[in-house]
């Protein structure tokens, strides 16, 4: 592609009026070997656009999501009920011991 043509396309590109085909001509030119000195600033731009497009989402898309917050809540509620159970057992025992001691005193 002649330089004059590229220059025209660059102006269109800056104005946001190039078509996708014209943009691919520019991309090929600016990621190629010989770029005119006065257009050097477009090399990093088009290099970047091409590079960043290679990044991919390489995790599996999960369609059944167990929300971690719900899991935590479940765990918390189980833990809380265990604590409650233990304390009530503990206090009952204490009371029982207290009653027994009282009874012993009365004897």
């Amino acid at each position: 592609m002649e330089l004059a043509n590229i220059e025209k396309l660059v102006i269109k590109y800056k104005n946001g009026t190039t078509s996708l085909e014209e943009e691919s001509i520019l991309r090929n030119y600016f990621t190629g070997e010989s770029v005119a000195a006065h257009l050097q600033e477009y090399v990093p731009m088009f290099t970047y656009f091409t590079f960043i497009k290679k990044e991919s989402f390489d995790k599996n898309v999960q369609l059944k999501i167990e929300k971690p917050s719900n899991k935590n809540r479940k765990f918390l509620s189980v833990a809380a009920s265990i604590v409650l159970l233990l304390t009530s057992v503990f206090f009952k025992k204490k009371r029982m011991i207290g009653i027994r001691q009282k009874n012993n005193l009365h004897r």
Binding site: Y13, K14, N15, G16, T17, L20, E23, S24, Q40, E41, Y42, V43, P44, M45, T47, Y48, F49, F51, I52, K53, K54, E55, S56, F57, D58, K59, V61, Q62, L63, I65
Partner: protein, 169 residues
């Protein structure tokens, strides 16, 4: 539509969703979460999918909206986004230092653009969507899209020219 059909439908554009999310949310982890969330929502609404004219455009719009909401709640929580160099899973190790510099410089220049310009330059110059598709995704008129794109391109280009002229990196 069963699970494997759905996964087949989304496979051509799941990377695009991820890249748009990363463009807006910066961090890889956040972008992965956003991608996951968008596809999960889409899957839950799968009965309506045949109605959508263009499921890809719909997914991109969802991604944009989801990321906007995330950004808003971040700002509310006084968390600021840290602008950093490009962080990818694959660093261009095999490439020259100039190549890496070019990628980093352009990346940080785009990060400084207003949100809408970021989205539009991503959709056009990276993902190569047609203008009509972009108008659909961002619900803007064609002229407004072209103006935003033109501003974004000029800003990046002018900054690069300055850097080259003064030899500042």
């Amino acid at each position: 539509m069963n699970e494997s059909d759905f996964l087949k439908v989304i496979s051509p554009f799941k990377d695009k969703v991820f890249r748009l999310a990363k463009r807006l949310l910066v961090s890889i982890e956040e972008a992965e979460d956003a991608t996951q969330e968008v596809f999960f929502k889409l899957w839950k609404n799968k009965e309506k999918i045949s109605d959508y004219k263009n499921i890809e455009a719909f997914a991109m719009t969802m991604t944009k909206n989801f990321c906007y909401d995330r950004l808003k709640s971040k700002q509310a929580g006084n968390l600021t986004l840290v602008h950093t160099n490009y962080k990818g899973k694959e660093t261009p190790l095999e490439k020259s230092i100039e190549y890496k510099d070019a990628v980093n410089i352009v990346h940080s220049l785009i990060e400084q653009l207003p949100e809408m310009q970021k989205i539009i330059i991503q959709l056009r110059d990276v993902e190569q969507y047609e203008f009509e598709e972009i108008c659909d995704m961002v619900s803007m008129k064609p002229i407004a899209v072209r103006v935003a794109l033109s501003r974004a391109r000029k800003t990046v280009r002018n900054a690069l020219t300055k850097q080259q002229n003064y030899g500042v990196s």
